[in-house]
């Protein structure tokens, strides 16, 4: 008798395991066969059930100041719409992975997602975003044009899939006291940057220029503005790689020379070394150096020319964080309302105090805010003259391949020529 009970119990257990597996199979089959997607699937259903019953929205966001800024202003929307907004802050790579895995689920776990602007072509082509025009979201002219163009697919001309949430753009950061002590003005060309860096290093024994040379996205973001200043382009009009070019060789040569009289640091050390006057110059994103009303270093647009008499090019890399409604959200109308709210001029003005970076011209030109935040004019100018990374769905892989070769060149394991030739070949293979 006891044996029979045990058999019945074990069969029940086996059946329940089998049933449990079956309920997750749909999403699991779409995934890479690992448990991550099952977890997503579970969280999806709970998130959706709550969305429907309580008017709840789940926002997948880049962690840090973006989340803090949204948390600070969301209460107004929650009260007006009797809704609950849950904001999940994630590290960039984790965010991209989670958004992608969730995209194949019928009922999405996230109603709104943030996306780094180079991800936009890949996400738009994959149908991750809902068409905002169909949801009644307007692309009003107050958004800075270069930012708004990032949310359209195809780039700049197509339908609107995301709105610019955070208007990051690369700037040139320098220690003014240090430059003053060497009687130097803010450099206008990369030739001048190198001259000043040499002087600071030779005469003061200090770091002339700091590069952000970590393999992958950091070194590519740090190098491209110099490459553009030398007239380089990653691709020609036929999507054939052009990094192995005269512009590429000159830019990488300058980059290596800057490193020779400078240093290769990660973000925290770049900020502290420039702010404290141990290093003279570096490229960076405003959010690193400018917190609230104060900046720990002076800032200027990135030099746009290779030499003093060279031709000027757009060099300020745009790095906006976009926000859109997911195609598999079960609460698209409410999500679209929240998107309009969070990117509105009034809300952006409020978010500035909590670390938000505006994307609307009216916010940058607001006299009260401009008096308080001295970097606004420079940042708006940089945004207006910014340049976007190539709009291809394969950019993540291209960046990876280019980053590996740039890292090899500055580490000295490959010559500049060999590194650029290998980068060109690898990028062309990816683009095939």
């Amino acid at each position: 008798m006891r044996k029979r009970i045990v058999i019945m119990l074990s069969l029940t257990l086996a059946a329940s395991i089998f049933t449990g597996c079956q309920s997750n199979t749909q999403s699991g089959a779409q995934s890479n066969g690992q448990s991550t997607n099952q977890t997503n699937s579970e969280s999806n259903s709970s998130a959706n059930n709550q969305s429907k019953s309580e008017g709840k929205l789940v926002v997948a966001a880049r962690g840090g100041s973006h989340v803090a800024a949204m948390e600070a202003v969301k209460a107004e929307f929650e009260q007006a719409h009797h809704a609950k907004i849950e904001i999940i802050g994630l590290e960039a790579a984790d965010l991209k992975q989670k958004i992608s895995l969730d995209a194949k689920n019928k009922n999405g776990a996230y109603d709104l997602i943030m996306a780094d602007d180079p991800w936009m072509p890949e996400f738009s082509e994959a149908g991750i975003f809902a068409n905002l025009s169909e949801l009644g979201v307007e692309a009003d002219a107050d958004f800075e044009e270069s930012s708004l163009a990032l949310g359209k697919h195809p780039y700049g001309t197509g339908d609107l899939y995301a709105l610019p949430f955070s208007g990051n753009v690369q700037l040139f950061f320098y220690n003014k006291q240090l430059l003053d002590s060497y009687s130097e003005e803010v450099p206008q060309s990369w030739e001048e940057v190198l001259e000043i860096a040499n002087k600071v290093h030779a005469e003061g024994g200090l770091t002339g220029y700091v590069i952000r040379g970590q393999q992958g996205n950091p070194i590519v973001s740090d190098f491209l503005p110099i490459f553009w200043a030398y007239g380089g382009q990653v691709f020609d009009e036929n999507w054939s790689a052009q990094v192995d070019s005269e512009a590429g060789r000159q830019a990488l040569d300058t980059y290596s020379k800057l490193l020779a009289v400078g240093a290769n640091y990660e973000t925290t050390d770049i900020v502290s070394s420039v702010s404290e006057g141990r290093a003279a110059m570096a490229l960076g994103w405003p959010s690193w150096f400018i917190t609230g009303e104060t900046a720990s270093a002076e800032y200027a647009p990135i030099p746009s020319k290779a030499t003093a008499d060279g031709q000027a090019a757009s060099t300020g890399m745009i790095g906006n964080w976009m926000m859109g409604v997911t195609a598999n959200s079960q609460n698209q109308e409410l999500a679209a309302d929240f998107l309009s709210f969070i990117t509105s001029s009034e809300t952006q003005k409020k978010m500035v105090e909590h670390g938000g970076v505006p994307t609307r011209k009216s916010v940058y030109l607001d006299s009260e805010l401009a008096a308080k935040y001295k970097h606004f004019p420079v940042q708006l100018e940089a945004l207006q003259n910014s340049v976007a990374r190539p709009r291809t769905a394969k950019w993540s892989r291209v960046e990876e391949a280019l980053g590996v070769e740039l890292s090899a060149a500055i580490a000295g394991t490959k010559s500049i020529e060999a590194a650029l030739a290998d980068a060109n070949e690898a990028i062309n293979q990816i683009m095939q």
Partner: protein, 293 residues
Amino acid sequence: MQSKRRFQWAMLTPVILLLIGLTVFPVVYTISNSFTDYYYLASDGKKFIGLDNYVKVVQDEVFRQAVWNTVKFMLLAVSLETALGLAIAVLIDSLKKGAKFLRVSLLIPSLLPPVTVALIWQMMLSNHNGIINHMLAWFGAGPFNFLMDIHIAFNAILFIDIWQWTPFAFLLLYAGLQAVPRSQYEAAKVDGAGKLRIFTHITLPNIMPTLLLVILLRTIDTFRLFDKVNILTGGGPANSTTTITQYIYRHGVYNLQIGYGAAASIIMVALVLVFSVIYIKRSLGGNEHEMRR
């Protein structure tokens, strides 16, 4: 007899189902994906491409570098962690006082999650604000760019891994030492054996199964090295710290090239098996021997 057999199967069924669901299915699914061009976000279905992924993976210079880095890391980390763990275990086993305190305090690093360890060391190794460079400055050395210098980055990660996992080797080997019969030591001493002879002829043979277990577990674990590399160096500089798992992550997870990542994963499994085969053979051999008896 039949009822006994039924009972046995009933008991085994849940485990078999779990094994099929959590191990067999993922392995078969990964193998089948490795022969396709499966890109997770693709709107069209995956196509069978034969061995293309395997050929591309093997031909990729970065993958070959990742394999070399992983094998080098595994050999250095496993041998140093095992040797240090054994030395500490023998030392603490011989202590008459303070053994309990040392035993507990030595284990602290291995209790920390790898991500936490990586973040702590990232702060400590920082050029400007890191305590390590501050301490070195007192002796007139540095500052060193531990994580960005191609000559140091690999060794820095190796050092952190040794710091974290030597206590794990120590713990297992210390437990092994406790099981060595004291009478053997006493007999050897009566016979006039020196310390070295006692160690090589009594201690080592007695703890050999534990020693092999430590080597196997650390071999498998070091092959999976990911968190520290991904957080501290991102595989750089110039791929000098790229590991196989990081390579798989970049292609299969971050870039969502599931088919390509699956092929690299299968190659990694084969490599782990090659390095574990000695232990597995020994285990199976032991069982066969016992069965024959």
